[in-house]
């Protein structure tokens, strides 16, 4: 039925959707497996499997389930390689290899890494882990306490364990690595702890660090050299990672790499975002604060910077730019473009040229009011003056909230429809910045930002987006932020889960909900699909509320308290009625 990654285009219903769109990088491994966090280097989260269709999705049923034994936020997704499913839990980051070829899905192995308990209190936003990557017979993943491990996929034996982050300075690791040309690419969390963000490559065979690039600091540390060609003139100059900060503030300036990483083999470029600058109080760090809240393209072999684009210069709203960069070739104004599509926390969806860093178009994909638009001659946002935050000043009703129009929950792309499927938030905030002192290992935030629902009476929406025009095609409104990711399939069905615990199958063309099932806990993870040993198509999803949005439940904070920086009384009203903490894997089939 499907012809692989170069699947034919089809117009989205009633829109005359983009034609000729294709994913830049084919699926990793056989079509029925899931070897990388996002399924492919392009971060498309698209599968060629096509047995589940809009016609039969209503008869989906639970095939089996598995408790991970951990009750915190289950972001991320399992892997499926050679009839084995690999699951990584939140802290303590236990991993399981589940034998899909046997009835009852027995474990092949369970691996419990050495992982410092201190990490729990150093992680800003729950003790999540966003998954593993498979390559060369090994499973690679990160530990919350700042280590990266390689585990033998057949035996569960630890092959190596390398310390990458410094917990005493607030560096934890939650992101999912990818493996590029024999190197494991990892980055740290800690944008709320005054870290100095970095991305690094380890030798997949030995665990030895091959290169490390900071995102802030002198050119040498940032790996800025002759290869760098920024598209916009204001992004050129020597040591911008120092000179765009007052004094030594760059040393504790954030810019962490806790999101998703993509790779284009043809251009040999790695793409990653960087987090918010620290602290939130922007009066303490006047200037552009490069390269925080930015999208960076780096050489796939050396980590050298090739282009750089600051999405939110001098961010003052905690708008990290770490969301995934999806690499697709798109027909725009009659021309095929090598595009990079990025749905930012700041509420704009960027369609960029992934070879040069040019912004082709940028349009709001959620309700927002802090900016009137992106100036395409500079790539910079036009900021609404009354929504600028400042120390000791209460600025009310800023949209989106610090959780962003979208957060870590990854979008998916279907070359069949040419559309992006995007889980979004609709929240606003009142922001008060506050003077803060850096104390190593404690939060370096300096701000309070209680949240509330955005305009329209809903707090999240699952949307289909045309990145060639910057327009929403359809949307499914949800009572809570959609904190789980999306999966697109060649069967024309898209999957996602909700914070209140519904797992849904949706018609990719129309947005009609075809089927839904209430799983055991709120969903903040990402669906994957695979072919079982019996030849059937299966869809798997974690249930386990948590992460930044579900933390108050995952941390068992009492319900509906009147105060909090992220109080669920107004942010997630009544969520405790609809779900409870958990940690389960659910697998569905026809």
């Amino acid at each position: 039925m499907s012809s692989g990654p170069q699947a034919t285009s089809a117009a989205a219903t009633g829109t005359g959707g983009p034609s000729g769109a294709r994913i830049a990088v084919a699926h990793a491994g056989p079509a029925g497996e899931w070897q990388m966090p996002a399924g492919d280097y392009a971060n498309s989260r698209y599968s060629e499997l096509s047995s589940i269709t809009p016609q039969n999705a209503a008869s989906l049923k639970v095939s089996w389930a598995f408790s991970t034994g951990v009750l915190r936020g289950h972001e991320g997704q399992p892997l499926v390689v050679d009839n084995t499913m690999y699951v990584v839990t939140p802290y303590p980051n236990v991993s399981y290899a589940i034998d899909l070829a046997q009835t009852g899905q027995p474990l092949k192995w369970k691996f419990r890494p050495v992982n410092s308990q201190q990490a729990i209190g150093r992680a800003c936003c729950d003790v999540v882990n966003r998954g593993a990557a498979y390559a060369d017979g090994k499973i690679f993943y990160n530990l919350l306490d700042g280590h990266t491990v390689a585990v033998n996929a057949a035996t569960g034996a630890q092959v190596w364990r390398t310390k990458m982050g410094d917990l005493s300075r607030g560096e934890t690791i939650t992101m999912a690595p990818i493996v590029v040309k024999g190197k494991v690419i990892v980055g740290s969390s800690g944008g709320e702890m005054g870290v100095r963000g970095w991305i690094a490559a380890l030798d997949a065979a030995t665990g030895k660090e091959v290169w490390r690039a900071y995102n802030i600091g002198p050119d040498k540390d940032v790996k800025v050299g002759p290869k760098l060609k920024t598209f916009y003139a204001h992004d050129r100059g020597k040591d911008l990672g120092v000179t765009s900060w007052p004094g030594d503030t760059w040393k504790t300036g954030g810019g962490a790499v806790w999101g998703w990483i993509s790779y284009d083999p043809a251009l040999n470029l790695i793409y990653h975002g960087t987090s918010n600058p620290g602290p939130w109080n922007s009066n303490q760090r006047k200037g552009d604060n490069k390269w925080t809240a930015a999208i960076l393209a780096r050489d796939g072999d050396t980590g050298e910077m090739v282009w750089a684009f600051q999405v939110t210069p001098h961010d003052m709203w905690d708008y990290d730019a770490v969301n995934e960069n999806i690499l697709v070739d798109l027909p725009i104004k009659g021309q095929m473009r090598k595009a990079l599509v990025h749905f930012d926390r700041n509420g704009f969806a960027y369609t960029m040229d992934r070879a040069t860093g040019e912004v082709i178009l940028a349009e709001p994909f959620v309700p927002m009011n802090w900016s009137t638009g992106i100036d395409l001659t500079t790539g910079r946002p036009n900021v609404v003056e009354t929504k600028q935050t400042a120390q000791d000043k209460l600025v009310k009703d800023i949209c989106p909230s610090l959780e962003g129009g979208k957060n870590q929950q990854p979008a998916a792309f279907s070359p069949q429809t040419g559309l992006f499927y995007v889980p979004t938030n609709n929240l606003c905030m009142d922001f008060t910045a506050r003077a803060v002192t850096y104390i190593a290992g404690t939060p370096f935030i300096g701000g309070n930002a209680p949240e509330k629902g955005g305009p329209g009476g809903y707090r999240g929406e699952f949307i289909a987006w045309d990145a060639t025009t910057g327009k929403k095609i359809w949307g499914i409104k949800e009572p809570y932020p959609v904190w789980g990711g999306a999966l697109a399939t060649a069967g024309g069905v898209v999957f996602y889960g909700t914070l209140d615990g519904w797992f849904k199958a949706v018609d990719a063309r129309t947005g009609k909900v075809l089927w839904q099932f209430k799983v055991g806990s709120g969903v903040v993870g990402n669906p994957v699909t695979y072919t079982g040993p019996d030849g059937k198509q299966y869809v798997a999803i974690y249930a386990g509320i948590g992460g930044d949005m579900g933390l108050l439940i995952a941390g068992d904070v009492a319900a509906n308290l009147p105060y909090d920086v992220r109080e669920r009384g107004t942010t997630l009203p009544d969520i405790a009625r609809w779900t409870s903490w958990g940690g389960e894997l659910f697998v569905f089939s026809l």
Partner: protein, 179 residues
């Protein structure tokens, strides 16, 4: 002797140095409101075990308990001015960004819900701040003065409300749209 092995109490090893090698400016500013000249931090002595003294129920039946009980009191319990300084210290030492505004819980546990992971008595809260906790709570003993720890203890305890044993959701609705 049996109790000495359990020594976890504040003041066991370190004196009340009042040293603050981080965030000096802020801390000095806050401390200026409340001179650190009290001897209160020395109520505890080497060998005290807060746990065993405060919770005799954890002793095995028949366990010799002839030791002289030590009453662990916060010298600032109920002292509004000290509690106010504690509130300022709570911000100055970045406690707020971990434990949430007014201790409502965020990265670290809530202080409002009446549930204490490591005990909620003055001695136990002091102990948590002084020596840190394995889940990531930093150890402040020796970095800030014992007086300041007692003021933080007074503030943190003042935030607590009764444990909410029952959450009744019936009769409540949330606006649900879209499906």
């Amino acid at each position: 002797m049996l109790f000495c092995g359990m020594c976890v109490a504040a003041g066991c090893q370190r004196g009340d140095g009042g040293r603050s090698d981080t965030s000096t400016a802020v801390v000095t500013a806050v401390s200026a409101n409340f001179p650190d000249n009290s001897n209160a931090g020395h109520l505890l002595v080497a060998g005290d075990s807060l746990r065993l003294i405060e919770h005799e129920e954890i002793l095995p039946v028949g366990f010799p308990s002839a030791i002289k009980p030590i009453l662990i009191k916060n010298p600032y319990e109920g002292d509004k001015r000290a509690t106010g300084v504690g509130a300022q210290l709570f911000v100055a030492y970045n406690c707020l960004d971990c434990h949430g505004a007014e201790g409502s819980g965020a990265m670290g546990p809530s202080f409002q819900d009446g549930r204490w992971h490591f005990g909620g008595s003055p001695g136990e809260v002091f102990e948590s701040i002084y020596q840190g906790r394995p889940d990531g709570m930093p150890a402040w003993g020796g970095r800030i003065s014992n007086d300041q720890i007692w003021m933080l203890t007074a503030y943190v305890r003042s935030l607590s409300s009764k444990d909410l044993s029952t959450e009744n959701f019936t009769g409540k609705t949330v606006e649900r749209t879209g499906h």
